[in-house]
């Protein structure tokens, strides 16, 4: 039997290792900036540490971490509103790739991001978690602090709003 004492901070490190890549992806998509996304990850887990030390109990840690990251991103844009990215802005393709495909994909990426930033924070979050992270309604409802039914309704409105913005 392995009797070597391993302290709780290793368990916390394991939590970081497990969740930080997903939090980074989530942050990067919305921030479109590597350094900012890393900052969001660092701050999210710092807040987690502080909350843990303060005796907070987490029934759903994953939901908690996404909520912190979401709030961080929302606060970021509140302090520094995004530049008014036009949905028709020209985007330069990666010169090393297939120019036409990459150009279209990059344009799509930026258009969706710009459209998402025009949704309400909750609408944005439900799109992110449902369609980009493949979360269940139940898990999304946990993050949002809503019922599953309310989350479904929110998702419906979010998709409609996203469509309308992209169709403009």
């Amino acid at each position: 039997m392995n009797s070597s004492p391993i302290i709780d901070k290793q368990a916390l490190a394991e939590i970081y290792e497990r969740y930080s890549p997903a939090i980074f992806r989530y942050a990067y998509r919305l921030l479109d900036d590597n350094d900012l996304a890393e900052e969001c990850v660092a701050d999210t887990f710092y807040r987690f540490l502080i909350a843990t030390r303060g005796g907070t109990t987490f029934e759903n840690l994953r939901a908690y971490l996404y909520r912190i990251a979401h709030n961080w991103i929302t606060d970021h844009y509140r302090r520094q509103p995004p530049l008014n990215i036009s949905l028709e802005d020209e985007v330069h393709a990666d010169p090393d790739g297939n120019p036409s495909n990459l150009l279209v994909r990059e344009q799509d990426r930026q258009r969706v991001r710009a459209a998402l930033l025009r949704l309400s924070p909750e609408q944005r979050q439900v799109i992110e978690l449902r369609y980009l992270e493949d979360w269940s309604h139940y898990d999304v409802a946990t993050v949002l602090g809503k019922t599953v039914e309310a989350t479904r309704a929110l998702q419906y409105r979010a998709v409609e709003a996203l469509r309308q913005i992209l169709d403009e």
Binding site: A11, R29, T52, R111, L162
Partner: protein
């Protein structure tokens, strides 16, 4: 297809395409990721400090802001280890059991000895929840939650020892939650892999019955106004065990046949029936626990359940069809059913069959003797030296180790063993299959052939100098597979 993917298909193709493009992102810069992780670790080191305990080999960690809590935990630990009562031996089953259903890295949590009501307790449960979240495999997740349930029982024991009765209901409630989560995981498994679910149901049901048994001991020491919480935990554990058996269709033949509906319907703790024959809230805490009608299928329908767990003088010696022995050290020649004894010995040359027997101490199988045991609960070890045949079979739980040396054939199959399974220098056919070992499986210098298959081992699987080399496979080993067993 997942719920989310279903929804995605409802999006128009163009929106799907755009979302897919949005989801595509460049690989994370490794150097940036490393720096962020370093920041996290630095913060972690700021809020943690390692402190040496009185034992140089044992180091603990706690928050800087909580030194008094650390001392409290340390005192609690020392106090606990000083107690050597018979009940402590029983509860050691739980303490040992903390390793039983764990997965990779579970020892990280063994250091967290906080109790309900302690400032660090939320951290403990947070880490547990996260650990379960980390596990994609529902079978492992179920095992983890059952394991966490065992920790709750240890907490109740510690709280009783410290006289912190007011914190017991929290531990009991957390126990029920853990059991519910385990059942939820089993439900997922039953949908994904019904065959595996049947085997897991049987193993977990055996452990849950042990939990009920141990909780019943603790109930007797609990003040009357706290007893309903513990009773509720007993009911939850029994109900869950019964439910798992029913889900398996009481399939005790190991055939692996599943229930016909292919799914698992969970009992809810709040709906669990009250077990009969247990002390009510007003019972005297000094009374011996009453488990006369423990509705658990460890016992066959024709055999009475154990009337008591407290040692009382032996009424009759063991004999064929004589399941009336209560307590005391016993020898077994013939059949012994659902009775409770202290230690049990199978004398030289004798043959003993056990079914549903509870042994508070150890089982010793002497030279030339044979033992066939099924559905037994042994708090200590099963030890055999020079035995002709030893069979420890389905539904059995062993709190210590199974140690079989210099004998003939042996089978240890579908057994939950908190410690090690050891085969050493035997000359017959040996089999260790579908067991859960909290320690190691060690197979050394056997010459009759060994099969090691489908075991879940928390420690290591170690095989040396066997001829022929062991066969088998499909073992899940948290430690390492070594030497002749490296490929199993």
């Amino acid at each position: 297809m997942s719920d989310a993917k279903n929804m995605r298909n409802e999006l128009n193709p163009r929106l799907q395409e755009m979302l897919a493009a949005y989801g595509t992102m460049p690989e994370r810069d490794p150097e940036s990721a490393r720096r962020t992780e370093a920041r996290f670790m630095a913060e972690l080191n700021k809020v943690f400090v390692e402190q040496a305990t009185s034992k140089p080999a044992a180091r603990r960690s706690t928050f800087l802001a909580l030194p008094s809590n650390f001392n409290r935990l340390k005192e609690s630990f020392l106090h606990a280890t000083a107690r050597r009562s018979a009940l402590f031996v029983i509860t050691a089953l739980i303490a040992l059991g903390v390793f039983l259903f764990s997965g990779v890295g579970i020892t990280a949590y063994a250091a967290s000895s906080s109790l309900p009501g302690d400032p660090l307790y939320p951290l403990k449960t947070t880490i547990e929840t996260a650990r379960a979240d980390l596990t994609a495999d529902p079978a492992t997740r179920a095992r983890l939650y059952v394991y966490f349930g065992g920790r709750r029982l240890s907490e109740i024991q510690s709280l009783l020892g410290e006289g912190r009765y007011e914190d017991i209901p929290q531990a009991a409630a957390e126990f029920e939650k853990d059991i519910q989560k385990a059942l939820s995981a089993i439900e997922s498994l039953s949908q994904a892999d019904p065959t595996q679910a049947v085997a897991l149901n049987r193993q977990i049901a055996a452990v849950l019955r042990s939990y009920s048994y141990l909780l019943t001991h603790l109930l007797a020491r609990t003040p009357g106004d706290i007893q309903p919480a513990v009773q509720s935990a007993i009911n939850a554990s029994q109900s869950a065990a019964n439910f798992l058996d029913a889900t398996n269709g009481n399939d005790d033949d190991g055939s692996g046949t599943d229930n016909s509906n292919g799914g698992t319907h969970l009992p809810h703790a709040s709906n669990t029936p009250q077990a009969t024959g247990t002390p009510g809230p007003s019972s005297d805490a000094s009374e011996a626990p009453q488990i006369t009608e423990t509705p658990v299928p460890l016992f066959t329908a024709t055999e009475p359940p154990p009337a008591t767990v407290a040692p009382i003088p032996s009424a009759t010696p063991a004999g064929n069809g004589g399941p009336v022995i209560q307590g005391g050290d016993e020898t077994c020649q013939g059949f012994l059913g659902a009775v409770t004894v202290e230690n049990l010995e199978v004398p030289q040359g004798a043959s003993c069959t056990l079914d549903g027997t509870r042994v508070q101490g150890n089982i010793f199988v002497r030279n030339g003797a044979s033992l066939t045991a099924q559905r037994v609960t042994v708090i200590g070890n099963i030890q055999a030296e020079g035995a002709l045949l030893v069979e420890v079979l389905a539904g059995s739980t062993v709190g210590g180790s199974v140690q079989l040396k210099q004998g003939g054939s042996a089978r240890v199959e579908n057994v939950v063993v908190n410690g090690d399974i050891q085969f050493e220098s035997n000359n017959g056919v040996l089999s260790a299959a579908s067991n859960q070992a909290g320690g190691n499986i060690q197979v050394f210098q056997n010459v009759g052939g060994v099969t090691i298959a489908s075991n879940f081992v928390i420690g290591n699987l170690q095989c040396k100098e066997n001829s022929p080399a062991p066969g088998g496979g499909n073992n899940t080993v948290q430690g390492s597979k070594e030497d002749q067993c490296a490929g199993l």
